[in-house]
C-alpha cells in the first residue's frame, strides 16, 4: 500500500511538472510582476531545486507536517481546504455504498434464486441499462423529477439532510446495478457447487441453503467487488459534485485544474489515491471477518 501511495504521488507530481509554466509566473504573471520578482518567488518556493528533491520535500511535508502546500488562487493551505471538503465527499461515498448495497444485494440474490423468471429479467435488464447511463445524465433526470415536477428536493449545494438524497441516488444507483449483476453471478456460481447439492440432499430447506450456505460463500466475492468499485464511485462523485454544486473533493480538483492551481490538483489527487488504497486495505481486512478459513489460518499461527 505504501509503495503504491508513493508511486501515485510521484506520478502525479511528475505529470503536473510537465505543465508549462512555473509557479512564479502563474502567481505573478497576470499581476504584472517583473521577471526579477518571478525568479525571486520561484526561489522562495523552492521551485529551482531538482524534481526529485522537490518531491522528497513534498512527501516529507505531507507525512510529518500534514502540509500539502499552499493554494495559488486562495492562498490558503491545501491541507486545510481538503480537510473541510473531505467529510462531504466521504459522507456521500458512504451513503452511496450503503444505498447501492441495500438495493443491489437483495435484488441480486432474488434474481439468482428466481433465474430466468420475470423477477430475474426486470432487475437484470434495468441494471444493464443503468450501466450505460453517465452519472450526470442520471442526476439531470432526477433533478427534473424531484426538483421540477415533484418539488421535493433542493437541486443545489448541501443545506440539510435532504440535499444528500439526490446525489446519493445519482452515485449509488448505477453502483447498485453493478452490485446486482455481480451478486447474481456469484450466487449462481455458488449454487452450482457440490456442497450445495449435498446440503439439499441432506434435507436443508431452500431458505437454509440460500442464507447459510450460498450467500456466505458468495459474500467474499461480493465484498471484493464492492471495494474495487469504490474507484468508480469516487469517479462518479466528481461529476455528481459538479452537477449538484457540492463543495467536495471532486469540485475542488476540477476548480484547481481550471485555475491551473497546481498544489490543489496534486494534493487532491494524492488524497483521493490514499483514500482508495485505504479502502482496498479495509476490504482485505474484512475477509477475515467474513471467511472463517482465513481467520483460522492467521490465529492458528499466532498461538
Amino acid at each position: 500500500m505504501i509503495p503504491i501511495i508513493i508511486g501515485v504521488s510521484f506520478l502525479i507530481f511528475v505529470m503536473i511538472d510537465i505543465i508549462p509554466g512555473d509557479p512564479g509566473s502563474i502567481l505573478l504573471g497576470d499581476r504584472g510582476g517583473t521577471q526579477q520578482e518571478i525568479d525571486l518567488l520561484n526561489d522562495q518556493l523552492g521551485y529551482n531545486r531538482p524534481l526529485l528533491v522537490r518531491f522528497a520535500s513534498y512527501m516529507y511535508d505531507m507525512v510529518f507536517r500534514f502540509d500539502l502546500g499552499t493554494s495559488y488562487s486562495s492562498n490558503a493551505p491545501v491541507g486545510t481546504e481538503i480537510a473541510s471538503r473531505l467529510p462531504i465527499t466521504i459522507t456521500l461515498a458512504f451513503l452511496s455504498i450503503i444505498f447501492s448495497l441495500v438495493i443491489g444485494l437483495p435484488l441480486g440474490i432474488l434474481s439468482a434464486v428466481k433465474q430466468n423468471t420475470l423477477l430475474d429479467r426486470i432487475p437484470t435488464g434495468s441494471a444493464l441499462v443503468l450501466a450505460s447511463v453517465p452519472t450526470f445524465v442520471l442526476g439531470v433526470i432526477l433533478m427534473l423529477i424531484f426538483t421540477f415536477w415533484l418539488r421535493l428536493l433542493p437541486a443545489n449545494g448541501i443545506s440539510d439532510w435532504r440535499s444528500y438524497i439526490m446525489p446519493m441516488i445519482t452515485i449509488g444507483l448505477p453502483q447498485a446495478g453493478y452490485q446486482l449483476r455481480f451478486c447474481r453471478s456469484s450466487m449462481l456460481e455458488t449454487l452450482r457447487q457440490d456442497y450445495i447439492r449435498t446440503a439439499r440432499a441432506k434435507g436443508a430447506t431452500q431458505n437454509m441453503v440460500i442464507w447459510k450456505h450460498a450467500l456466505r460463500n458468495a459474500l467474499l466475492l461480493i465484498i471484493t467487488q464492492a471495494g474495487n468499485s469504490f474507484a468508480l464511485l469516487l469517479g462518479g462523485s466528481v461529476a455528481t459534485e459538479a452537477l449538484f454544486g457540492i463543495q467536495g473533493m471532486g469540485s475542488y480538483i476540477i476548480a484547481g485544474i481550471k485555475k491551473q492551481d497546481l498544489p490543489v490538483v496534486t494534493g487532491g489527487v494524492v488524497v483521493f489515491a490514499i483514500l482508495f488504497a485505504l479502502v482496498i486495505l479495509l476490504v482485505d481486512l474484512s475477509y477475515a471477518f467474513v471467511d472463517p478459513r482465513i481467520r483460522a489460518k492467521y490465529s492458528g499461527r499466532g498461538n
Binding site: 510537465i18 444493464l128 453517465p134 466528481v238 490538483v265
Partner: protein, 299 residues
C-alpha cells in the same frame, strides 16, 4: 531451411481457414441474440449518421446562432428544437456524434492495439520485465480513471486528440492485465516453443500466434471499453475539460443545456439519451459477442 519456412506458412494458412469458420459460427450464434443485434444496428446507424452528417446538415448550421429561435421547442423546422443561443439542436447532435463516437472508437481501438501488444509481450517475456511493468501499471490503476483522465487533460490542454490520449492511457492497465492473464497459458504451448526454435522473431510470434489465440477475449474487452470510453469522454466534456465551447459534443451539450433544465428540458435530455444509446449499444453488443464467442460462459 527454405522447406521449413514453407511448412510454417502452410500451417498459418490452415489457421486462417479455421479462423474464418469460427467467424461464421460466431455470427450464426450472435444473430440469435436480439439485444446484441439491436446494439449492432443502432451503433451502425449512429456511425452512418455521423459519417453523412455534412449532407444532412452543414457544420455551419450547428454553429449558427439565431436568437429569435432561442430555446425553441421541437418543431418541423427544428426537429430537436433550438438551444440557448438559438442553434439547431439536431445539427449539433449530428455533428456532436462525430466527435463523441470518434473519441470512443479511436481510443477504444488504440487501447486495444497497445494493450494487446504490451499484454502479450509482458506475458511472453515474463520475469523481471513482467514484474516491473505490472508494478508500474498498478500505480496507474490506483487512481480513479476519470480523475486520472482529468489530470492528463490538465497537463496536455483540451483538444479532441488530447482527450483520446488521456482516455487511452487510463484504460491501458486493465487491458494489459486481461491480455496478460489470458496469454500466460498460451506462451507455454509447444507450438510457441517450435516457433521460437525455428527462429521466428518475437514480434511475429506475438502477432501471428499468441494474440490470435486470445482474440475472443480481446474483442469482448474492446467493445466494453468503447462503451465506457464514450461515457468517460462525455463526462470530461460535461465537466468542461474536454471540448472547446462552440464545438458540439454530447457531454458538453448536456452541460450547456443544464442551465435551461427547467425551461427546456429537451436540450439536456436529447444529447444525454444519445450518450446512453451509444454506450448501451456497444455494451449489449459486447455481451452478445462474449456469449457467441464462448457459449460455455453463458450464465
Amino acid at each position: 531451411m527454405k522447406e521449413k519456412y514453407v511448412n510454417i506458412s502452410s500451417l498459418e494458412s490452415s489457421l486462417v481457414f479455421k479462423k474464418e469458420s469460427q467467424l461464421k459460427e460466431t455470427w450464426r450464434r450472435l444473430k440469435k441474440d436480439k439485444l446484441a443485434i439491436f446494439g449492432l444496428l443502432s451503433i451502425l446507424t449512429l456511425i452512418l449518421l455521423a459519417i453523412v452528417a455534412d449532407f444532412i446538415a452543414s457544420y455551419d448550421s450547428a454553429l449558427e446562432m439565431d436568437l429569435s429561435h432561442r430555446l425553441a421547442a421541437p418543431s418541423l423546422e427544428h426537429i430537436f428544437g433550438c438551444d440557448g443561443y438559438g442553434r439547431d439542436l439536431f445539427a449539433r447532435c449530428l455533428h456532436g456524434a462525430r466527435i463523441s463516437l470518434f473519441i470512443g472508437f479511436f481510443s477504444g481501438f488504440s487501447t486495444c492495439i497497445i494493450g494487446s501488444l504490451l499484454g502479450a509481450m509482458v506475458g511472453y517475456i515474463g520475469g523481471k520485465f513482467d514484474a516491473i511493468v505490472m508494478r508500474i501499471l498498478d500505480v496507474f490503476s490506483s487512481i480513479p480513471s476519470i480523475l486520472f483522465a482529468m489530470v492528463w487533460v490538465a497537463v496536455l490542454g483540451s483538444s479532441t486528440l488530447n482527450i483520446c490520449f488521456a482516455i487511452i492511457i487510463t484504460a491501458i492497465p486493465a487491458f494489459v492485465r486481461l491480455v496478460r492473464s489470458s496469454v500466460l497459458g498460451i506462451v507455454e504451448m509447444e507450438y510457441i516453443e517450435a516457433c521460437r526454435a525455428g527462429g521466428t522473431p518475437m514480434f511475429r510470434i506475438l502477432v501471428k500466434h499468441v494474440i490470435p489465440n486470445t482474440i475472443g477475449t480481446i474483442i469482448v474487452q474492446l467493445t466494453a471499453d468503447i462503451s465506457s470510453q464514450i461515457l468517460i469522454a462525455a463526462t470530461l466534456s460535461f465537466l468542461g475539460l474536454g471540448i472547446n465551447p462552440p464545438q458540439p459534443e454530447w457531454g458538453a451539450m448536456v452541460s450547456e443545456g443544464k442551465e435551461f433544465l427547467f425551461q427546456a428540458a429537451h436540450l439536456t435530455l436529447i444529447p444525454g439519451l444519445l450518450i446512453c444509446l451509444a454506450a448501451f449499444s456497444m455494451s449489449v453488443l459486447g455481451d452478445g459477442l462474449r456469449d457467441a464467442l464462448d457459449p460455455r460462459l453463458k450464465a
